[in-house]
Assembly symmetry: C2
């Protein structure tokens, strides 16, 4: 994990039976992982847990006890239904009370009022957050998110509906996290045609050993022996963009040399 | 988790940094989760771990120690590159040696020979499996999978390339697992227009309490107050299809009644 060396680590906890029965693909986790990676935060685990209180509490506690981890981000389980129990679990795991936030309640009440709907206990539940947490406004849905500083770690809870999760993350989480890491991360790559993954493997190992703070990987797109196509991608971190780019390009150049030796074709390189 | 009540549990362990940096969406896990669910196996966790030996070993051990778990399925890390270390980790976690399987080596050698390629140590590595495991042929790629019976539990290791994983699962894993569960699982659902999720919530809770061995859930597709659309889905298990269908339809009928009371529109129901 490139970004982890000397920097902060994170866990993503995806909550919901719908993920465990394979009804929903966990695009939320990869979206968040990508954002965190480029913020200089290394994701160490993505864990999908069922909507049962003990499972959620146990995994949060485990994350909080891991010395490499600074941030846990949960998704799902913030809504009005009986099995939406994420914030109850965060409260238990951090030994806090779940309390009704008047400000959050007011926001929720307003949204229902605009639609001529009254408050019910299911709707009120969405305003109950772990004591001490900061409610994160939900610009596209109802349930607010939650940011909790707990014993030097951070637990962020976001809804499971992708557009709500993304809006809260981009609007209220990104800026707060930016301040915690000073790393710059870049990604570069090129395509190689005509060389099996097993032949290029030693070059990747060599590059990994030569450049600190990179993550280089071959992604097979064709067939190992019948028409091999490889996407070579490198992620590199540094204290500024130039340093990161130099590492990434250095690693790719080494692989490019070996590609020539093996008589394969390499495409132009690209960087994000 | 519907399928878990009284039945077998599984963990899916997805191995690979590319998942943790958000480069690849974990479609393998949801594909396997769906298959296991309909085989009557309840998935209790999906865990994504980096390509580091300690992380993989620790999570496998944790799964093996969980009394609710019978099967651990790993994906990724079976290839020829230096960071493909899954089978080394499975060996360590189960206190076995990693041994060269002559039969697997022969298959691999044949595939490279057909392409006029020689064996190298990177290619040979793919024939090293935990002692006592059964190699699972890879009909579309090179690296074989592995089936290991270890202390009354099963550890299945599959490649990370989706079409290779799917081919091995369907060709060699499915039949073996079928024998371990006698449950039948069905899924039914309908669409509800005009009722917010928070209003239908009590009906879902009621259905969940009334019918044992079901998992019922509302999936919001519209906006809670501005044009709510809900997909109501129920997963039900039984000792035969009729019993499972009866439960699923009973639960949906209860929700349908409440939908009428709340003056919402429900579509025809469908079952898989």
């Amino acid at each position: 994990m490139v970004a982890v060396k000397g920097s902060l680590g994170a866990w993503i906890l995806s909550i919901g039976n719908e993920l465990l029965i394979g009804r929903v693909v966990n695009t939320n986790a990869s979206w968040i992982a990508r954002k965190l990676t480029f913020l200089g935060i290394g994701v160490r685990r993505i864990i999908v847990v069922p909507d049962t209180i003990d499972d959620i509490v146990n995994e949060i506690k485990r994350g909080l006890q891991d010395s490499r981890i600074k941030i846990i981000i949960t998704t799902g389980g913030l809504g009005p239904t009986y099995d939406d129990i994420t914030l109850e679990a965060v409260s238990k795991a951090t030994n806090r009370k779940l309390v009704l936030y008047e400000s959050a309640l007011e926001e929720i009440r307003k949204k229902y009022e605009q639609a001529n709907m009254e408050m019910t206990k299911e709707r009120e539940k969405m305003a109950c957050l772990p004591q001490g947490s900061i409610p994160l406004p939900n610009p596209v849905g109802i349930a607010p998110g939650s940011w909790l500083d707990a014993n030097g770690k951070i637990v962020v809870s976001l809804p499971g509906v992708p557009r709500e999760m993304e809006a809260i993350f981009e609007g209220y989480v990104m800026e707060r996290i930016k301040g915690t890491s000073s790393m710059v991360v870049v990604e570069c790559g090129f395509k190689v045609v005509g060389i099996p993954e097993s032949s290029i493997a030693p070059a990747l190992e060599e590059a990994d050993k030569k450049f600190a703070g990179i993550y280089i990987k071959s992604h097979p797109k064709g067939h190992e022996t019948k028409g091999p196509i490889l996407e070579i991608k490198v992620l590199a971190s540094g204290s500024n963009r130039e340093e990161a780019l130099n590492k990434a390009k250095g690693a790719l150049n080494l692989v490019r040399e070996r590609t020539k030796d093996l008589e394969g074709k390499a495409s132009e390189e690209y960087c994000d």
